[in-house]
């Protein structure tokens, strides 16, 4: 009993401490982040959605006009082109980033020499900003200075490669730059995943006589599901917000051929003094993300519990 008193404990029955005050330091430390989440993310989102139903122009005004902004949005050719471009860019970028990133990672994982050098070279574009990447590729793809002029200089006079000046394929010119910058990072994520695969799995597959490519497809890739989910989230968020690459390479041109939704939102809000229209467009972007995100989140985290 004396010992208990020395340690500052009561020898009588005690009530459990108040729950609210448990781990108090951690709770206090997380207040700023909670505030940010509530006011910036949720608050501003709700505010934007509400104002997308108004006819705000230069300044936000609660002057409701129902779905007028949305009707106008979907009647604008520029928006439709933006959506189409985003779809093409998104699907191609997603597939190519995953395929190229995984292939590079798989090649690097075959115990090659100078692995560190290759990894650095391939990851280097990721260290550049989109503006720099965009400018570099604008030069490379420029018909008068870039690839086209080099090949013509070799004597192939009729060679034509000018994606940034051809409205039909301009989005693929932007795609090249996007892939060049992004796939190195995806490669690193994939490489980390591949390194996590038990060496003995590979040995077992060799003893079983499974060819390397089959082992990748039927054994290793299914094991890397969490890594693919991570890569998918990273790539998708990059796709939805693509903006600076377009501005640096084409400014949306030729004409409106390489417009993207994020650029539409920015231009309406800050160039055309048409806040209502910008809000409506950004709400549509949010909606599309939510439509993709919710079923995925439900599949991944809801449904059955994982052990």
């Amino acid at each position: 009993m004396a010992i208990a008193e020395i340690q500052g404990q009561s020898t009588e029955d005690v009530r459990p401490p108040v729950r609210l005050f448990r781990n108090l330091n951690a709770k206090i430390a997380s207040i700023p982040m909670i505030m940010t989440a509530v006011f910036v993310f949720i608050g501003c989102t709700v505010w934007t959605i509400v104002h997308s139903f108004t006819k705000s122009r230069l300044l936000p005004k609660l002057d409701f006009v129902g779905l007028d902004q949305y009707e106008r949005l979907w009647g604008t050719r520029r928006w439709l082109v933006s959506i189409e471009n985003l779809a093409i860019y998104g699907i191609c970028s997603l597939v190519l980033s995953l395929v190229i990133g995984f292939t590079l990672a798989a090649l690097l994982d075959r115990k090659i020499r100078f692995e560190n050098t290759f990894r650095t070279i391939l990851l280097y574009p990721f260290a550049l900003s989109f503006i720099v990447t965009g400018l570099v590729w604008q030069w490379i793809l420029n018909p008068d200075f870039g690839i086209q002029s080099v090949v013509r200089g070799w004597g192939w006079e009729s060679f034509t490669f000018d994606p940034l000046y051809n409205p039909d394929i301009v989005i693929f010119g932007i795609l090249i730059a996007g892939i060049w910058q992004g796939s190195g990072f995806i490669m690193v994520v994939m490489l980390a995943g591949l390194r996590g695969i038990d060496e003995e799995i590979w040995k077992a597959a060799r003893v079983d006589g499974i060819p390397t490519w089959k082992t990748y497809i039927f054994v290793v890739i299914p094991m890397m599901r969490p890594v693919f989910v991570t890569a998918l989230v990273l790539i998708t968020s990059g796709i939805v917000k693509v903006y600076d690459l377009v501005v640096a390479q084409t400014s949306g041109g030729p004409g409106i051929a390489s417009e993207v939704p994020a650029k539409y939102v920015y231009d309406k809000m800050f160039q055309a003094q048409n806040l209502g229209q910008g809000f409506a467009a950004s709400t549509m972007m949010l909606l599309s993300v939510v439509i993709i995100l919710i079923p995925w989140a439900y599949l991944e985290f809801g449904g059955k519990k994982r052990g």
Binding site: D198, E200, A204, V207, G209, I210, K214, F218, G307
Partner: protein, 381 residues
Amino acid sequence: MGYTSENLAEIAIDTPQTLAEPSVRIKNLDLNFGSVKVLQNLNLDVGKGEFLVLLGSSGCGKSTLLNCIAGLLDVSGGQIFINGKNVTWSEPSERGIGMVFQSYALYPQMTVEGNLSFGLKNARIPKEEIAKRVARAAEILQIEPLLKRKPSALSGGQRQRVAIGRALVRDVDVFLFDEPLSNLDAKLRADLRVEIKRLHNQLDNTMIYVTHDQVEAMTLADRIAIMKGGKIQQLAAPGEIYNRPVNKYVAGFIGSPSMNFLQGNIQTGDTDVFLSGDVSIPLAGYAFDGLGRSPGKAWLGIRPEHILTGAEAEAAPFNTQAVIEIVEPMGSDTLVWTQLAGERIRIRMDGQSDVREGDTITIGFHAERVSLFDEATENRI
């Protein structure tokens, strides 16, 4: 004669199992990792249906040797034969081996059935044949109820059974085990050990089994190869290794608790004696024949279980008084620490003995239980 790693090839040929055509033959095998020589000029014959255990502490090259046999590592020199066929440069799948790994290495996204049949499907074996082999393996290993489950829904012991099953369905003559029980808890390990022994009796395949656990080695093996530094130190039946270790390393490695060693001199004359400090141990009746040739500095080894106490000790040719320093009761046995000729030694006593620290007891042993090792070469005298 001295049993050293240099003349092991002779010993291997002397052993009856290898007189028949060997199932696995390794000739002058070398393996280097860069400038590090992991295996050097290694020779080994494994008889048909033999259970050979490669035993050694980590880094001794035992797993490396197994991987060479499996074809998972490219050798730097030498030849490997399996069933008389030179497979030195064959793919693992073409060697006629099945392998079981420490981490089970099951394909996690496939069911048990998928794991068993994946390799067979890939080899374009007819469906009925696959079904037959899977059913047989499942029956032998008693994993029929688990066939539709994924590995994540299995316990460690069940997973290792499935891994053994994956080797079984390959219908091969040689099974390779790479520390298959090391990831299991003690009780499961004992169960599965018996299971593997039963499997060997039932199938009569050649099995090569890598472990660092001497209990597994002693209980499972027809022959044990004790490895150190990329060389086989001794290759013999478990009893032989226990009773006639070729050198001090093997003597200290096998047996738990391990052998006691005393440093001293052998004096030959009318009566051979081993002198260590003020203790003189008569060597009359020493079980091996090298005494006359190498008098001089030596180690004397005596296993804790061969040191007698009480009346038995008094009747032994060598006995002395010893003060007990520490008593470790282990239930079935009691381990007692004491001093002999200035060395701390262990004695294994009956679990029921009620000795206490500070007691003085009589200890003694017979010379035929003793092993002597040359101090310089550490080889048996």
